[in-house]
Symmetry: C2
């Protein structure tokens, strides 16, 4: 009974803090998601402490709720994305994905090596600079009703490619760091698996759905289109982790598949209450994980500033160059949209800390950088989207 | 990453098992909830073992999801319940609540004492016979669209009274068991607090909502009626645990308050996807908690049969007598609707096990009885509601 009371109070506090944060942000003409992240920062362990550090680590109930929230978010983003539309921007998305990984990786390695790290360690650190987190950008695009814009499609397509490359890169640097060589064969196998997963689900899944959408209506449960779609979402989110990709990639593909059905609008409509209830947990926890105490040491502060600038500029350049064929304005939007880092950077940093490659300070800085990029991006992206209305 | 994959797989398995179970049950003309509970039994630790015992204990992510699911379920039941309607059946509901506690408590104590337990232990065991779990019955009533029937209102009103009395009883037996006396003054205080909570929230809350429903629309978030209602739901669910009541009582009151607003239909509509996604976790976990291995010992099996028969008959008699003023058919429905035990019985049994009052076998039998009543009731209740259509 006592545990139930404690968790209900925590859920209440997180949910209300998110609503208040979003409301204030929106009154200040900022995206609501900024307010939710800041709210998390405020109630998190390094400020008010209403959430303890133990409550928000991986595997806790709150963390699982947050994970479900971001999975559902990307599912709903997928629902608003047609495979046909993604194919049309395939070339740009591919370029943005590749350059958006290459530029930060090169700049990150050079910076780390310039700061005295051995090459194998430098490459590991640089890997933590690479992966874009689609969640933050997707939420801003959705809030502004901008998911149908060409830039949004490029960003979402690039996020899938970005994730595949980041996973490969992690495999390479881990093996280099452990003193092992890199087998081109095994890397190609990993690449083929991940690409195969995305392509098969994307192509075959959409085709099956187009032909067999009535299956969604066949169970007795009147909400069956939704429940079947949610089951597919959970299933593909799991499967994509088995192929080394982020869970949200599978959820996005599930949404994209479901968007081929005639029940699409109904599904979009029904997903809204789920997002309203569950995504705040993701964004509040994102904010709560920012360790504000890093900002009290001057050397860490300088390092954080440098790392964040490199992370922002390098990702922007990669995205901008990749999308240049869309024109400078659109390329700017794409470049900014790719900036947020997130879970994947944090995961790599955790691996680095556990294997002794990263000091505590390096770890804290990488995590803070990942989260800073998530706070910086939404207002800039929103302003750009409004200025260059399509 | 690995933990994320594991939890996503578990969520997928639970969710799909629930859908399959519900579908099969409904094709067999049984309520879907029976299928979800049986599905939990099948994938649970004592059968297939796809869910381990450690994954479903209190405080785990799955348990928290289940708790959120049942809280939202009772919130949505509250949304379909008007205070005015409850007041009309106040006298019957009160009688059903009081007799539905008194009869099982007396019969339970007599049985336990007759089996050689001392009086203080017997009263403790009997306390585990008492509390009705509104979740199961509410789900069946909702599935059959029967929440507007007079019997449903009596059952829901009685469930609130039942919960208050069960809480008082638990206080008494715990203190007797610990060798302490029972202070009438402190009991009256506990009673006054619980009643005060329910009455103030019920009366003042509904009045405020009737007058100030436009507050729900004032935030910028277009889903704000829902988000504010959900915040109130989580808040009252927590508060009711602070007053010693079950979380679902607070959630029910929150729904009842929100049903006074003009956004009521919109809220009912938006709550459906949340229920579709989250309540299966509650019912599957309910099933998964049934320890089937108890059924291999003959003495335990006999004890279980006797205890279940006493629990079913005593609760039925109490509910039936209390509701007799509605006529025999309605009284039968009310009596059956009150039969399911659930969390509260399990909680009392856990306290008994921890304090050494219950042996392992007694504990397992009480838990199995609580859950058996949850499986037996839905088909009987559904058949009765269909035969005596109002």
């Amino acid at each position: 009974m006592h545990e139930t009371a404690a968790i209900l109070l925590t859920l209440f506090v997180i949910f209300v803090a998110a609503q208040i944060g979003a409301e204030i942000a929106q009154r200040l003409k900022l995206p609501g998601v900024v307010g939710e992240i800041v709210a998390g920062c405020v109630i998190g362990p390094s400020a008010l402490g209403w959430l303890s550090a133990e409550q928000i680590v991986a595997g806790t109930p709150l963390d699982v709720l947050a994970e479900i929230g971001v999975v559902l978010l990307l599912f709903s983003v997928g629902l608003e994305t047609r495979l046909e539309d993604l194919k049309k921007v395939g070339r740009s998305a591919f370029l943005v994905g590749v350059l958006g990984v290459a530029v930060p990786f090169v700049m990150g390695s050079l910076w780390a090596h310039g700061n005295g790290f051995a090459w194998s360690k430098s490459l590991f650190i640089a890997a933590a600079f690479v992966a874009t987190s689609a969640g933050i950008t997707a939420r801003v695009l959705q809030e502004l009703g901008a998911l149908q814009r060409i830039e949004s499609r490029v960003i979402l397509g690039a996020a899938v490619i970005d994730d595949i490359l980041a996973m490969l890169l992690l495999g390479v640097v881990t093996s280099l760091q452990m003193g092992g060589g890199v087998s081109v064969g095994s890397l190609l196998l990993v690449l083929a698996q991940a690409l195969g997963f995305v392509v098969i689900i994307g192509m075959v899944g959409t085709r099956v759905m187009r032909l067999r959408a009535r299956w969604l209506d066949s169970p007795i449960n009147p909400l069956s289109p939704l429940t079947i779609a949610l089951a597919i979402c959970l299933g593909l989110a799991f499967l994509s982790t088995e192929f080394g990709l982020a869970a949200i990639i599978g959820a996005f593909l599930a949404g994209m598949i479901a968007s081929e059905t005639h029940q699409r609008e109904q599904l979009e409509h029904q997903t809204q209450p789920l997002l309203a209830f569950l995504t705040p947990f993701f964004f509040v926890l994102t904010g709560a994980k920012i360790d504000l105490s890093v900002f009290t040491s001057k050397s860490a502060l300088i390092m954080l500033a440098v790392v964040t600038v490199i992370a922002v500029i390098s990702k922007f350049i990669g995205g901008f160059l990749g999308a240049l064929s869309l024109g400078r304005n659109s390329a700017t939007i794409v470049g900014v949209g790719m900036i947020p880092r997130g879970e994947v950077g944090v995961v790599i940093a955790s691996l680095g800390l556990a294997s002794g490659v990263f000091s505590n300070q390096t770890y804290a800085v990488i995590v803070a950088m990942s989260l800073l990029t998530s706070i910086i991006t939404p207002p800039v992206l929103a302003a750009l989207l409004k200025r260059h209305a399509s």
